[in-house]
């Protein structure tokens, strides 16, 4: 009885802190991995320890950071281009009915073309170069950004824009301070989905037609059947993306949502 109370107090305290739960979940994942690896005893599933050793070894003495940097650069470039073009087209199509009717067919075509087809066509048409790679990734993401932003533009509260009109606010200020803030939640949603989709496509693009980057290396490890290195490179990339999520996207989102009642 007395024991129970102490136990409950401890569990209550432990689970109150969401960080504790997160750490527990992470430790559990590693444990499951470790156990499975020990059971399988094969190169196909290396243990966490092996992967970690290769990870640090390659990071310090190998080319990991170079390839990681190249891939991140491509992600950043393709992301920026896709967001800019997608947002611009989304706003235009959301506010101009005729333009929307005009471009909607093209948009649906692009939205439903498999990523692989776009990548192959870009390489065939533009050659196996950087421009083709970035174009292919951007083209894959633009239609998704467009859908979200167009929806956001249609949901704009005209009454707020009317305030800008009666107080004779300049066109630029009306756009930046009265229009765009209403779109922020949609832009953030597009960005979040964008990053995760783009880095996956970047890897495919690298695998098919570049001679550097994480995707290129993964292909190499596949051919050499070096699964431990494959794990290590994946780990490096996932680590960076988690960092991007927690250190960049979440803080921006928190800042933009400051006004919302909790």
């Amino acid at each position: 009885m007395f024991n129970n109370i102490i136990k409950n107090k401890f569990t209550n305290y432990f689970f109150k802190n969401s960080l504790n739960v997160r750490i527990l979940s992470f430790v559990l994942l590693i444990l499951v991995w470790e156990v499975l690896a020990l059971l399988v005893k094969s190169d196909v599933l290396p243990t966490p320890k092996t992967v970690l050793i290769i990870f640090f070894n390659d990071m310090i003495y190998g080319e990991m950071l170079y390839h990681l940097g190249i891939t991140l650069w491509r992600v950043l470039l393709a992301f920026t281009i896709a967001m800019l073009i997608g947002t611009g087209l989304g706003i235009a199509m959301g506010s101009k009915k005729n333009l929307n009717i005009m471009l909607d067919g093209w948009h649906i075509l692009l939205l439903n073309t498999p990523a692989l087809v776009i990548i192959i066509l870009c390489y065939v048409w533009f050659g196996l170069n950087e421009i083709a790679a970035i174009t292919a990734v951007s083209l894959n993401k633009i239609p998704n950004v467009l859908v979200t932003i167009r929806e956001g533009t249609r949901a704009i509260d005209r009454k707020i824009l009317e305030v800008a009109d009666v107080f004779k606010v300049s066109y630029k200020k009306k756009f930046i301070n009265f229009f765009l803030p209403q779109l922020y939640p949609f832009i953030m949603a597009a960005a979040r989905g964008g990053i995760s989709l783009i880095w996956k496509i970047v890897l495919v693009v690298e695998l098919l037609g570049r001679s550097n980057g994480i995707g290129f290396k993964l292909n190499e490890f596949f051919n050499l059947f070096d699964i431990a290195s494959l794990f290590a490179y994946t780990l490096s990339f996932v680590t960076v993306m988690i960092f991007v999520e927690y250190a960049i996207i979440s803080p921006i989102e928190r800042r933009l949502n400051k006004w919302r009642p909790t």
């Binding site: 009454k159 707020i160 009317e162 305030v163 800008a164 009109d165 009666v166 107080f167 004779k168 606010v169 200020k173 301070n177 009265f178 803030p181 922020y184 933009l256 400051k258 006004w259 919302r260 009642p261």
Partner: protein, 262 residues
């Protein structure tokens, strides 16, 4: 119909002349034009607080849109004594709802419609202070009550020192105590700035408490059917025998005046 077009001996540059021959709307369903306003003619001397009272659907909002320049498709003239039009000068506007930007603080909501020079920001702060909201300068609208949000909207309406202030039933759906407080605050700011105010309402008591003069409008197509002067000293009391007698007398003389008939 009586106007004080000729009786107004001392002319001021911003006496407002309104002479609308017709204002019509295209009815897209029936492909016809509906007249919202017809032969509406009145003069509002500079610095007068004038209430417009009429039945619902009498085109009051249409008239305000014409005065504010949101809508300029009209057959007729709306101009100041000096030949300029209201849209050439700063305009203050208060809507039925507060229409604040939820993502801006109280202070930003007021100053956003100015050019945000240091003087204008200081003036915004001064007005917010006069509205009794100094503690809420950096609060977001969602943290304020409905009455407080309207106080912010009043401050915003006055912040550009407008020549003319248009108010479209701004105190509707508030409880009596709060509405009375806001009316007092409105009068206080108006007495400092001496802007011309056009206040639309369907509440005769409210009109009598606030205004120098009430223009009664007919049902659509709307025109002025009665021009009623109120020569009572300020500050007025919200519950006042003299005012109540005046109101009863008016209703006795013209029992259907509030439904737009005389």
């Amino acid at each position: 119909m009586e106007t004080n077009l000729n009786k107004n001996v001392i002319k001021k540059p911003h006496d407002l002349f309104v002479d609308i021959i017709t204002k019509s709307y295209e009815d897209k369903n029936q492909n016809t034009y509906n007249n919202a306003i017809k032969n509406m003619k009145f003069v509002i001397p500079q610095g007068e607080l004038c209430c417009l009272v009429g039945p619902s659907g009498c085109g009051k909002t249409t008239l305000l849109n014409l005065l504010s320049g949101l809508d300029n498709k009209v057959e007729g003239v709306i101009k100041y004594q000096d030949g300029t039009i209201p849209n050439d000068w700063p305009i203050g506007y208060m809507f039925q709802e507060p229409r604040l930007m939820p993502w801006l603080t109280v202070k930003q909501n007021v100053s956003i419609v100015t050019n945000q020079t240091s003087e204008e920001i200081a003036h915004s702060e001064k007005l917010i202070n006069e509205m009794g909201l100094i503690k809420y300068m950096n609060a977001f609208p969602s943290q304020l009550s409905g009455g407080m949000q309207r106080r912010v909207a009043i401050a915003r309406a006055f912040v550009n020192k407008p020549k003319i202030l248009l108010l479209d039933e701004p105190f509707i759906s508030l409880d009596l105590t709060v509405a009375n407080l806001l009316r007092q605050m409105l009068i206080k700011l108006w007495e400092n700035q001496k802007n011309t105010i056009i206040f639309v309402t369907h509440d005769l008591r409210e009109a009598m408490y606030l205004s120098d003069r009430i223009l009664f409008l007919s049902k659509g197509p709307s025109k002025v059917i009665y021009d009623f002067k109120i020569n009572m000293k300020r500050p007025r009391k919200t519950e006042d025998d003299q005012m109540e007698n005046l109101r009863i007398e008016l209703i006795k003389k013209h029992p259907e005046i509030l439904s737009g008939k005389i």
